[in-house]
Amino acid sequence: MTEQKTLNVGEAAPSFTLKTIGMKDVSLGDYKGKNVVLLFYPLDWTPG
């Protein structure tokens, strides 16, 4: 597995556009002017 560097405090968060329920697009840029909490979790049906 290639070594990867986790994004660090102080760095600019990479933008993204992903599908959500109902196949609607959600972009990070939709939330300009707000703080954003990104909760990455391994899979649906896992604890959490």
């Binding site: 990867q4 986790t6 707000k34 703080n35 954003v36």
Partner: protein
């Protein structure tokens, strides 16, 4: 994460948008969200694993992302980053306290 769904009002008061991200499809998200009670924040599908790679939390062995929490400020800068170990879940109180530090 139903624990965050229940606290979404507190995050809104702190001007924070919560987003859940995994590598599952929107169809899987829909079933899971209904099953566990997540209805107040979006679940996003990183099906191509591009976001997991961009944020440096891609688990190639499992072809999924690892569990991690990032807090971004209004300008899109990372202000908090935490990788969670096996069996560890993000704590809404702790994350909310971190958000309030930057609000």
């Amino acid at each position: 994460m139903p624990a965050f769904d229940k606290r979404i009002g507190d995050f809104e008061k702190a001007n924070a948008q919560v987003l859940g991200i995994s590598t599952d499809s929107p169809f899987s998200h829909e079933n899971w969200a209904k099953s566990v009670g997540i209805s107040h924040y979006p679940l996003l599908s990183d099906m191509h694993r591009t976001v997991a790679r961009d944020y440096g939390i891609y688990n190639g062995d499992m072809n999924i992302n690892t569990r991690a929490t990032f807090i971004l400020d209004k300008t899109g800068k990372v202000r908090y980053a935490e990788k969670h170990g096996k069996g560890e879940l993000p704590d809404p109180d702790k994350i909310l306290a971190e958000v309030k530090k930057i609000s």
